[in-house]
């Protein structure tokens, strides 16, 4: 394992974390979608690089899937949905942006704290990727937590799954079954979400989930 390859892998993985921070930072929906596309793009690069240095060619497939679906198709689809629903106004964020960034930093620290001492035996590359992947996962979850809006929720979830893909790619020789399942899951996830957004629009004017949250046993009785 020569240093340059390691550095590049490290750089790309770290890049994903940075982009996740950007996701946290965005307050406008379109910008959020675009940044997510960027996020997926970085993922593609990272996975591709893993494929080259591991000589694991199935990872190219993964990279391709990620590129097509997450970097191109889904963002455009989301653009259309947002436009259709007419919700391209600034979306409210729970708590200040700065506060969220700070929490995000804490999460990254936590990820590294948990991961670094752990995988002392596994090879360095996997460990680094894993640490960053965990950070991305946590940041995605954090994004889901701090946003009200359905679309941004979906985006948060998918950024989380990007983190998973990164981790899977980092795991040396992980069978193809998993990647396929991921892609598969993402596909289904999109379909279901699309269905949902569609139905939701049938019934509500906004995709704002608090509108949906207001139909519950307690409120009904």
């Amino acid at each position: 394992m020569h240093g340059l390859a390691f550095d590049i892998a490290h750089l790309l993985a770290g890049g994903m974390v940075v982009v996740s921070f950007l996701l946290l930072y965005q307050v406008r929906l379109f910008a959020l979608i675009n940044v997510f596309a960027l996020h997926s793009l970085v993922l593609v690069l990272a996975v591709g690089w893993q494929a080259t240095i591991q000589e694991a060619h199935h990872l190219y497939v993964t990279a391709g899937i990620a590129l097509i679906f997450k970097a191109i198709l889904i963002p455009t689809a989301l653009h259309r949905i947002v436009r259709r629903l007419g919700i391209h106004r600034t979306l409210e964020v729970v708590g200040g942006v700065g506060l969220n960034m700070l929490a995000g930093a804490a999460l990254v620290a936590l990820a590294i704290l948990v991961m670094l001492p752990v995988t002392t035996t596994a090879d360095v590359l996997a460990r680094e990727d894993l640490a960053f992947a965990l950070a991305v996962v946590l940041l995605g979850l954090w994004l889901m937590v701090i946003r009200h809006n359905a679309v941004s929720l979906v985006i948060g979830f998918m950024s989380l799954e990007n983190g998973l893909v990164l981790a899977a790619a980092g795991a040396r020789g992980m069978p193809l079954a998993v990647e396929i399942s991921i892609a598969f899951s993402v596909l289904i996830a999109l379909i279901v979400i699309g269905v949902f957004l569609f139905r939701i629009r049938e019934r509500f004017d906004s995709v704002d989930m608090q509108a949906m949250d207001s139909f519950r046993e307690g409120r009904r009785r």
Binding site: V114, W142, M144, I146, R147, M209, Q210, D213, R216, G218
Partner: protein, 671 residues
């Protein structure tokens, strides 16, 4: 060998119950069912008596049921046999009574299936020889009796009673479960033989004792765990009430005796006895005081069950105290007293509840304030009820007196105890016992006098009819047994001897049946003796002689006329003393302290024609300070947390997120 037969009988009972479900359309089925239970109970009674008197040597049997690696163990020893006698005697008489009473049942479909199941459950509890089978049968017993309590579920009060009953039963079962878990150890040696063999450390044994006291006590109705009892027992149909009050509480006592005297072996600390003794005394007095405040006949009887359970536990507590000091002869006396009272109470309490049932069918009333004068339309029921009342009031020469007399004798032996606390506790408890006996007499003067004597207070009471012959047979069988046990106590004591020996390191009372004139001599004839037979003979003799002489030599003429009543002519029946007014002096003496009884007279202003109103406010301290707070706490907590049902998805996500972060932090710090 009678154990397999005794095991077969509950199965038959269950089959009968299932048959009752399937044929619930027919009309004559109640005869069929109760007849079947009657026969089965009589057979079981015979077998149990045989094994108690002929060969009390334990017999065991294991069936491949229950816990697979354990199997269902069953055992028939003297203790089980004695309680089997009690249970099946009560069951048989209740069935006989129900042959007539069951005809008036409004919802037979809700009684017939569960009555045999209830009997089966009680029989199985007594035969069980491992923790699992025991608790299985125990809980089954509670469940079937709950179904019977819920038979008339359309009155809200009954539904509430059933709820409270089942919750308390579950609580008690949990306590017993913990006790057994403690005794069985972590590798689950649940069969009683293993538990007997294993010696628990003092701390564990004490904990097990307390748990057993809670578990069995909550079923038997020890204060302060008694609250469900006076609600649930009256709610059931009367023959079931008789079983629950007269018999099921005894099964609960059996559970306590089995665990504490048999499984735990020797009591290690003297304070065990003190604890049980004090609880028993408090229970006895509080129970009878509660009873005095009631004017619902069946509830009054139920509260008396609480009192008698207290008396039984006094005996058991003394036995524990004596055993802890290796005074086995004294312990034998105390145990005999307790067991004797168990038998007696099952007799007269069943009798009284059945009598109340007869009154209920005759008048449709349970409220004594609306009864009265029933001795005229139903003299036989009145006679039987009177005997039961005299017996429960511990009047010689009936059986209630004998067991209380034995208890007093046991208390009189307490000065030999070395511990100071026990020295002082015993006579104090004796005073409580005497007080409860006297109050019981007062309470049954009230119960019998207001219900059967005087003039009818309501049309229903005026038009009452004597009950059917089945019921009368049942009543008089029990009454006769009360008298027999009262005048031949020595025989009963002798047949209790094997049980006492089993529980008391094979120490037992001296054999009684060879005493002159069948006198009862518990310790030595210089100390104390009692001869119910002679007392009866003397009384009969002197009474008969007096009657004969008077009617022969003096006048025997009788003239009827209106009551004089100090010259108040033809007062209306409402001027009679009522249950409330009869209890008023005692309420003023005791109730004002215990129940914060408050009396208010509301006089209308002059010229206003409305009648003056008199009302009494009683407060139940145990409910107010023990149970209400718990219920309120649960309600408050559930309302407090209820908002968690109505959060937004984001909040739920943050819950997951929080859990994840916390666990990860834990990981990080754990390394």
């Amino acid at each position: 060998m009678s154990l397999p037969l005794l095991l077969g009988l509950p199965v038959i009972l269950l089959a009968v119950g299932i048959h009752a479900v399937t044929t619930s359309r027919r009309s004559h089925r109640s005869h069929w069912i109760y007849g079947a239970t009657l026969i089965v109970c009589v057979i079981a009674l015979g077998l149990a008596l045989a094994s108690l008197l002929m060969d009390p040597t334990p017999a065991t049997l294991t069936l491949p049921l229950g816990l697979p690696w354990l199997g269902a163990h069953f055992r028939l020893d003297a203790l089980a046999a004695f309680f089997l006698v009690v249970v099946n005697l009560g069951g048989a008489v209740a069935s006989l009574f129900a042959l007539g009473y069951g005809q008036h049942e409004s919802a037979p479909g809700r009684v017939l299936p569960f009555f045999p199941a209830f009997l089966a459950g009680m029989n199985l509890v007594l035969l069980a020889d491992d923790a699992f089978t025991f608790l299985f049968a125990w809980e089954f017993m509670s469940l079937s009796s709950w179904a019977l309590v819920m038979a008339h579920h359309q009155e809200p009060a009954n539904s509430r009673a059933g709820y409270l009953y089942l919750v308390m039963a579950c609580f008690g079962t949990l306590a017993l479960l913990l006790a057994f878990g403690l005794l069985a150890g972590s590798d689950g040696a649940y069969d009683f033989a293993a538990i007997r063999a294993g010696q628990a450390t003092p701390g564990l044994a004490a904990l097990a004792l307390v748990l057993a006291l809670i578990g069995a006590g909550s079923k038997a109705g020890l204060v302060p765990l008694h609250v469900w009892l006076p609600l649930a027992h009256p709610a059931a149909p009367s023959h079931v009430s008789a079983l629950m009050s007269g018999v099921m509480t005894k099964v609960a006592v059996y559970g306590f005796v089995r665990i504490v005297f048999d499984l735990l072996g020797e009591p290690v600390a003297w304070w065990w006895g003190g604890l049980v003794l004090a609880l028993g005394g408090v229970t006895a007095v509080l129970g009878v005081l509660y009873a005095l405040m009631q004017h619902d006949l069946k509830r009054l009887l139920a509260y008396h069950t609480v009192e008698n359970i207290g008396i039984i536990f006094i005996g058991l507590g003394l036995a524990l105290a004596f055993q802890a000091n290796q005074m086995y002869t004294s312990a034998a006396l105390a145990l005999t007293a307790a067991l004797f009272h168990i038998l007696n109470h099952s007799l007269f309490k069943s009798l009284l509840f059945l009598g109340a049932g007869a009154v209920l069918t005759a008048t449709g009333e349970r409220d004594m304030e609306r009864l009265g004068g029933l001795i005229h339309p139903m003299p036989w029921t009145a006679l039987a009820f009177l005997l039961g009342a005299a017996a429960i009031s511990a009047l010689p020469p009936l059986n209630g007196f004998v067991s209380e007399w034995l208890t007093f004798q046991a208390i009189l032996l307490s000065p030999e105890l070395p511990q100071w606390l026990l020295k002082f506790l015993a006579p104090a408890v004796g005073a409580l016992l005497a007080l409860s006996a006297a109050l019981a007499a007062a309470c049954f003067v009230k119960a019998f006098g207001i219900t059967f004597l005087g003039r009818p207070r309501s049309p229903a009471a005026a038009q009452a009819q004597e009950t059917d012959r089945y019921s009368l047979w049942a009543l008089f069988i029990l009454a006769g047994l009360c008298l027999l046990a009262g005048i031949l106590p020595g025989l009963v004591v002798d047949s209790l001897a094997p049980v006492v020996g089993l529980l008391n390191g094979s120490a037992r009372l001296v054999t009684q049946h060879d005493q002159p004139w069948l006198t009862l001599v518990p310790v030595a004839d210089v100390k104390s003796s009692y001869n119910g037979l002679l007392v009866l003979l003397f009384m009969a003799f002197s009474g008969a002689v007096a009657a004969f002489l008077i009617h022969r030599l003096a006048s025997s003429a009788v003239r009827r006329g209106p009551a004089w009543d100090c010259g108040f002519p033809e007062a209306s029946p409402t001027t009679q003393y009522t249950a409330g007014s009869f209890a008023q002096p005692i309420r003023r003496v005791f109730g004002s302290v215990v129940f914060q009884a408050r009396e208010r007279v509301m006089m209308p202003p002059p010229g206003d024609l409305r009648p003056a109103r008199f009302e009494v406010k009683l407060r139940d301290p145990i409910w107010e300070h023990g149970y209400a707070p718990i219920a309120n706490a649960v309600v408050a907590a559930s309302s407090r947390f209820n908002y968690l049902q109505y959060l937004t998805i984001r909040h739920y996500l943050s819950l997951v997120f929080g859990a994840l972060v916390i666990l990860l932090l834990g990981m990080a710090l754990w390394r």
